[in-house]
Amino acid sequence: MALVVGAPASMAQGADSVEGQTYVIGTDTTFAPFEFRQNGELTGIDMDILHAIAEDEGFQVEVRSLGFSAALAALSANQVDGVIAGMSITDERKQIYDFSEPYFESGVQMAVAKDDEAIKGYEDLKGKTVVAKTGSEGETYAKSIAEQYGFTVKSLDQSATMYESVKAGSAVAVFDDYPVLAYGIAQGNGLKTVTDKVPGGSYGFAVNKGENTALLAAFNDGLAELKANGEYQKILDKYLADPTASTPGNFFDLAVKSFPALMTGLGNTLGVTAISFAIAMALGLIFGFFKISGNIVLRGIATTFVNIFRGTPLLLWAFMFYFGLPQLTGWDISVWTAGILTLSLNAGAYVAEIVRGGIQSVDPGQLEAARSLGLGYGKSMQKVVIPQAFKMMTPSLINQLIISLKDSSLLLAIGFAELLYQGQQIYAANFRVTETLLIVGVIYFVAIMALTKLANYADKRFNK
């Protein structure tokens, strides 16, 4: 890739030819058959169409699978040049985005659990709850008939979770986009359709209004080309006509197949936690000392820092750093940077409190004795107070490290490819939610147990 990875091309240059350009395209994480991961590779109808058009028109794409809402937020923040995410073209969206020609004619269909004999049509939904995907055509349609048939619509974020809640009985039916549903059923998601497809909107590729016109034109051009040469139909058939090709086998097969992707996720989880915790320790030491300093300004700074990051949710900062900061500053913030900022500032606030408490728990006579020997404040702290404080702090620090490791899973919301995110990618493609989550849970558990053992060993070794 010739361009700096991560810099959207629209910001790098304003040429109107797409030849040789690299565009950053945002997409959903979990919208099979349009985009999903298979053996770690992002694939699906959207991906195949996008890559075929890019090849045809001679430009490069860097795809970021962020999640539907996150991809749109990233588009608004100019972190991506365009979004292809099985997105319906609506009037509302047309006010903020420019859409390509429709590349897929969708529709809405209802599905119920396979063994459900009670629901045979919309009339049987009276007094029941159904689920639909937030912001989708399915949701709009379900809501439009909800009053007429007397049912309640609950909105969820992912197809896989919707199917699970129907199977688990917390909703009796799901309204979802026809292709997704058809693909899921063929994958053995345990649902069946009992009503006909309602013809609905069409999907389009979106760019910010008035921007990236060359890219949009190239997309339309390439799409027409694909339709003309039959490539387009081949792509659709690949996913909708024979969707069973990739069905994994038993639990063990699932574990083996998903292992490489999950290990990548674990690596990212451990990496982001380690870097963030190292920074958090430094921040915590600085602000912990500020907190006990005689200087009222330093104390004020430390108290403000601690209160801000202890008093606000971690997720809010993840969104703020990833979506908000680029818009405010124009900087390009990678998902790693945003993730590390979020985790390290949050953990730093807690570590500052741990450091303050640890130092204050050391008998003041210790500092006095060291000072009376002629050691300076810094030396006295370093040689006498901190070693004793550290010993008392260690259990709390280990605890905070583990909390940070678990908290890192929240970064999936900004598309950081950590362990749970990888799990989501897997069940979004195969609909085996429970089993996949079980595997992810076991990996977290083993990793955290190993880390705890290691930390306790180090504690015994160095703090005897």
Binding site: E368, A370, L375
Partner: protein, 251 residues
Amino acid sequence: MSTASEMNSQVKIQVTDLHKSFGSNNVLQGIDLEIREGEVLCVIGPSGSGKSTLLRCLNKLEDITSGTVVVDGFDVTDPKVDINEVRRHVGMVFQHFNLFPHMSVAENIMLAPVELKKMNRTEARAKALELLERVGLKEKADARPASLSGGQKQRVAIARALAMSPGIMLFDEATSALDPEMVGEVLQVIKELADSGMTMVLVTHEMGFAREVADRVVFMADGVVCEQGKPEDLFGNPQQARTQDFLSKVL
């Protein structure tokens, strides 16, 4: 009042009109005091009269509100004076020992000489062993403070205070936290130190000991020096009513 030998020796500590207050609590209300080289000064007085505060002002563990304290020619109230340098000449022994629990006995003693780059570790350890021998605890060099008795801890603390070879030693009720049977061993070490010619200021409740080792006794009450003199005079023939009253209660 001064003997010929005191007249000849040089002034080690000069306290002039020392005031110290904690908020609105005026703890020291104008102390004037002169301590000469080799002198052993005992400070006695009722609880809360400001004895500890006075002692802690001598090495500036407390900030001084007003007045001057000159130690070895350094005015400790002068911000330009390196207080750490002054403290190296002044050893201090605390009521509660304040040994460093995460270090061995020898490391406690070696800390200052090594960190202040006065000695390398080998020299510092040799010095530590020599000091421990002096307080009768050579065999405890590698023990942890937690494994020692109170009397042993205080003897280690004395050895630690001596590590930088100070010219002055300050003791703040060095035996009050000890079980009675351990008081003697610590007083013995302090007495040997006094006999060796060390300049010392001792805050103590041990009147018998004060009488035995002191060259001069200072009686403090309510933040001022109420009366001072040779032990036989102060204990035998106190002039002030407050002194008489105090002594009648403690003797």
